[in-house]
Symmetry: C2
Subunit: 195 residues, 2 copies
Amino acid sequence: MQALIEAIRSQGHGVGSQIVKVDSFLNHRLDTGLLYEMGKAFALRYADEHPDLVLTVEASGIALALATAHALGDIPVVFAKKSAAANQSGDMAEEKIFSFTRGQECVIRVDLRYIPAGSKVLIVDDFLANGEALRGLIAILKRAGAHLIGVGIAIEKGFQPGGQALRAQGIPLLSLAVIEEIRDGHIRFRDTDQH
Amino acid sequence: MQALIEAIRSQGHGVGSQIVKVDSFLNHRLDTGLLYEMGKAFALRYADEHPDLVLTVEASGIALALATAHALGDIPVVFAKKSAAANQSGDMAEEKIFSFTRGQECVIRVDLRYIPAGSKVLIVDDFLANGEALRGLIAILKRAGAHLIGVGIAIEKGFQPGGQALRAQGIPLLSLAVIEEIRDGHIRFRDTDQH
């Protein structure tokens, strides 16, 4: 999406070869107008599948998920909670995921009462890199007996394997910006019209 | 706000005398339509003050802040980041706050580049109890040289001192639902038309 790519170009900062900082519009300060444009793009792509809810992970996925859910006619959002330790209780489904950014394992947790069996779920998140968070969310959906209709990502790091793994599984994936390479502070994008 | 009070009555769970669980529409699953109604209520109350941005704390304040910012014409949101330990760097303003719910101190942190000096700020959060998070946010605004135009809260625990302290300081406060008492699982509300 051109507006997102422009925002990354003008405000994003490449750090080393792996990290792009987008705190000024996506991860700390939120560019509200841009978030609604992104939400509309996901809604346009997935509305025909009639998702029942949007699933994401706290904290920075929440804004994008809400904007998407609004564009889809105010369907509910469920955000997985993240914590350092497991704490099984009641109807909670938990998955361990490894955060490469933080270099540590963490647990994501969803109350299965909020993901009805048979429901159609759209997953939305701000970043896709190794795909660990998505792997955990998809595992939770399976335990819930819900159907994944697709995934919407703001920024995919195309040089990390998460996106390719999803596509190889035949999971519909819309990444609004795909970064091909970060080098010397310069960010190079994939031509996203190709997929 | 009647829709919020109805949601708390029908879906909220009083736990002991201090806690109300609203995971089904505000803290884990989000009732998107209700969030936009709440955002519109804050916008209606504060639009005449022309806020430049909405400030909140991750994670559960983000959705409410975004809905409010959207209703105010897509002004930006800044969410304070929360962590267990201090980690001073660059333009980060940090405040220690005590979480009574968790029984521990934590640090909230805002990059001051995103709160321009002289800007008019509306603070929004999901809960107001002892007011520790708000105290921290207000201290950060002072360091930024920004103006607090008011506070919007979804659920105020009227039996805890945060709301009274803000009102005593003359800070405009709109709480959409004020809980007077939680006893034996029953939740009693204050008549919010009184303030």
